[in-house]
Symmetry: C2
């Protein structure tokens, strides 16, 4: 596959959007104001021609050759996802987990054919959407990587039911481009939006644009179509049903172990025309949490309700007075939202929140905000940090409101300790990405000075400490980053044993040769 | 079990709330104004002492005797659910499906013990909540009926997270009574509210109070605890999670085939204090449908959004001018809802809706409306109709908006035809019980003159014709009445084969002796 503009095989996004030398130097200089981050040098990005790929274990048979590639770029670009660990490994030239080859099915028959061949030969197959997994969800040495990106069309739009039939391999921007002429949007904007696909979102229960009510992609699914080794599973288009356990809910979050999602009918949205937003500051993080809880329990359903702790407020939003910042946003395609935001702001005031910039109200089609653009560009910055041996990663969870204070304190204590122990410093900050009536989804970011060559060992200590405390404190190992291979030790403890037995049995029924993404979620 | 006030063993609810002779005669007189319904006589309700129960196939062993009953009343009252078919059979003295005995576990250990014994002896066990199934979900001759009604407590309330840990056997009113002192309500009011349990709601994905957004009980579940023959399955208390497929969603709708639900953490609500409602009339049902669709797609989230066709508007709401009636209601514990209902009413006006009585707004704790009381009493009326050989039943579905017009026309045509063919007359009406952005949940009611002794054969022809057309038109065989044994032929066609294989495998993993509610949802 040659395209004019190429995606990075080792790091985030487009090759030509990576931070240039000046930008990376500026980032290094900014970091150098913090203790422990002085004197970073920016390493050179690797050239693919200098990197050794392992020998393929199998070659595509003639029957599949028309849509398969053994090209080094394709194998390299399908070796890992985009976690910190993945990027460090690829940046250091370690591509030992490369697949044997990459299949690019052109249609469902190609998917069936490649799964049939893998089943007959006993070769594992790893479904691959945009490859933006941060949990080792697409990594399996010697496997066949099944890249769905050629299934990239909106096939059908039902304007009366406001739903669209969409192929699973479409990337976020191309999906929005195809919905826009109909006046629609899916409004699902994970940070990976530009480089992840509908099928990937469905397989991993991706978290999206809406901070309340409809948070996960699950809520927008009307029906799904999945190719399993035992045949096609297609659910009916139903707005609601009580006929047995939901078939879709078995495949949502199945991370490629039960089948390959090829299509879904998705509930789309009219494009919003009314918007109101406010940045509410709180001198006390605890008061900010109480206010956010009040809003989450008031059934006001803001689209945005993201609480940044003082550290995040400073680094992400330029708030330098030590306040926590609650970013509130309401939007509607149908009606002005003044009454909604007025009540939310009133709730904030009850907890000491202030609005230095007041409420901003707008009607009409708005452009994506500066915040979203900076949000989507953040992973490029992390690549530059990898190049300067800075350890930068995030982890996330969800817990009840009653449990949050202890969980937050426990995480901060444990992570600050491990950062001091293994890196000699660094910091951890917290935001809420989504909130529910019964609890928030806290999202933590940490940065620490790494030692070149030791970053992975350092990162593993930090990741492990963070994951332990999440589990011990009653959280989930992931609210929307998925499980993959990397979260397995903690997922296995979190998941009820009986459910593991049921899932294992379901997999054996649908994938009897156990070829689909082995090692993810369960062991055979 | 002897209580001062006893539930009817053959019909709905409390024995002392059944229609008395005068009320039944009035009902017969009202019906007699319709063609085909003249000259009905009201048969006498059976006395339990006159009815023969089949011999028990097994007796409770000594180890279980302390919480088991072979009392004729208990066996009779656990023989059937409360479908039309069930009531006709019980009324006619046919109790051939009686269980061998009834277990009333006092705690989880009793549940474990009875399942262990059933597994060892190969005796089927049927979990029984309130026994209000209308789909044959609790009927299995000779089985052990496992009645959860002694597990009836709210065990713990987390006020900060607004959640409560509730035992599964609690009935609706007792649950609300225990939540009220905390200022909370579950606000789940299916028509069976008084005579069904939390565990039953969870096992059947019950549809409740909210007409939009949070429609099914599923949406209020934070975590569940289920006793399976292979051990206890308990999920974490999480407001949201993306860690693999949802464990809870496998058990929601599992209808007792995977385990016995003993407890759940439920998201409860603050009791509403602000309310606004309106009855909007439409000369054209089709315009009313369009207005309802507009509201469902506007993200206003009314608690009530029930559209009655002209027939239902007349019989349920006394609207005699041939209008369709949209019953709109907004409620909030947090804020006045004037802006919300104003926009909904405006949307109705755009489609020709009028409000002869205007918008009613209220603040403060309201009593349950007359409508709800009449809604909850309706099944007593049906028992009286059974006594006068009137066939009265409902069926329900969900479909996309684009599909509704054809589905509605198809159902009305097919059911009117079968009513004419097998009953010589009768009628069918439609309402929406719940609505979604992508489609409504239409609920159909039919009444027809039966012939004494032939009612079941007549009913089966009608039910079969209605179910066929629902399936053919792309609907679901049930939106919130569940599958049980009665809906199996259509559920089996609706459900993807691959999902059936997965569910069968999951059941085999959790219930290897296949004792739990065999015949429901799947065959071994």
């Amino acid at each position: 596959m040659v395209t004019e503009r190429r995606r990075s095989w080792w790091g985030w996004g487009w090759e030509d959007e990576a931070l240039n030398a000046d930008q990376a130097a500026n980032l290094a200089a900014a970091l150098a104001t913090r203790p422990g981050f002085q004197g970073r040098t920016v390493g050179a990005a690797p050239a693919l021609s200098d990197v050794a790929l392992p020998a393929a274990r199998v070659a595509p048979p003639d029957s599949l050759a028309a849509f398969c590639s053994s090209d080094p770029y394709d194998r390299a670009a399908h070796t890992y996802g985009k976690s910190y660990r993945d990027t460090v490994r690829a940046f250091s030239g370690d591509l030992n987990a490369a697949p044997s080859f990459v299949a690019f099915p052109r249609d469902e028959q190609d998917v069936i054919d490649v799964l049939d061949w893998c089943g007959a030969e006993g070769v594992p197959a790893v479904p691959f959407g945009g490859g933006s997994s941060v949990v080792g969800g697409v990594e399996l040495p010697g496997a066949v990587s099944v890249d769905l990106s050629r299934l990239d069309r909106v096939v059908e739009v039902d304007t009366m039911s406001r739903a669209a039939r969409v192929q699973a391999g479409v990337f976020g921007p191309a999906l929005e481009d195809q919905l826009r002429p109909h006046g629609y949007t899916l409004r699902h904007f994970p940070q990976s939006f530009e480089f992840s696909t509908l099928g990937g979102w469905l397989a991993t229960r991706s978290g999206g644009h809406y901070a309340t009510n409809y948070t996960h992609i699950d809520d927008f699914v009307e029906s799904m179509r999945v190719i399993t080794p035992r045949g096609v599973v297609e659910s009916r288009r139903l707005p609601g049903s009580g006929a047995g356990p939901s078939p879709d809910r078995l495949f949502l979050g199945s991370e490629g172990i039960l089948g390959v999602i090829t299509e879904a009918w998705m509930r789309v949205q009219d494009r919003p025309v009314h918007r109101a937003s406010a940045g509410v500051r709180f001198a006390s993080f605890s008061d900010a949490v109480s206010a956010t809880r009040g809003i989450s329990q008031a059934a006001l359903f803001p689209a945005n309700c993201r609480l940044l702790d003082p550290g995040e407020a400073m680094t992400s939003a330029g708030v330098t007075d030590g306040s926590a910042l609650l970013v509130l946003g309401f939007e509607s395609a149908d009606h002005p939202v003044d009454a909604w935001i007025a009540r939310a702001v009133e709730l904030c005031a009850d907890h000491g929140g202030t609005l230095p910039e007041g409420v901003r109200s707008a009607s009409g089609q708005g452009a994506a905000g500066a915040w979203r653009s900076s949000f989507l560009r953040a992973p490029y910055g992390r690549d530059a940090m990898v190049a300067m041996s800075v350890i930068a990663d995030t982890f996330e969870t969800a817990c009840t409101w009653s449990n949050f204070e202890a969980l937050h304190a426990g995480v901060v204590e444990a992570v600050e300790k491990v950062l001091a122990d293994v890196c000699g410093g660094g910091w951890v900050t917290c935001r809420f990405t989504h909130v529910y009536p019964d609890g928030p989804a806290p999202y933590f970011t940490f940065l620490a000075p790494g030692r070149r060559g030791s970053e992975l060992a350092q990162w593993e200590d930090i990741k492990s400490a963070a994951s332990e405390v999440l589990l011990d404190m009653g959280g989930t190992i992931t609210h929307h980053h998925a499980v993959g291979r990397d979260h397995r030790p903690w997922y296995d403890r979190q998941r009820p044993d009986g459910f593991a037995a049921a899932l294992r049995a379901a997999k054996a029924a649908l994938d009897p040769a156990a070829i689909l993404n082995p090692g993810v979620l369960i062991d055979p």
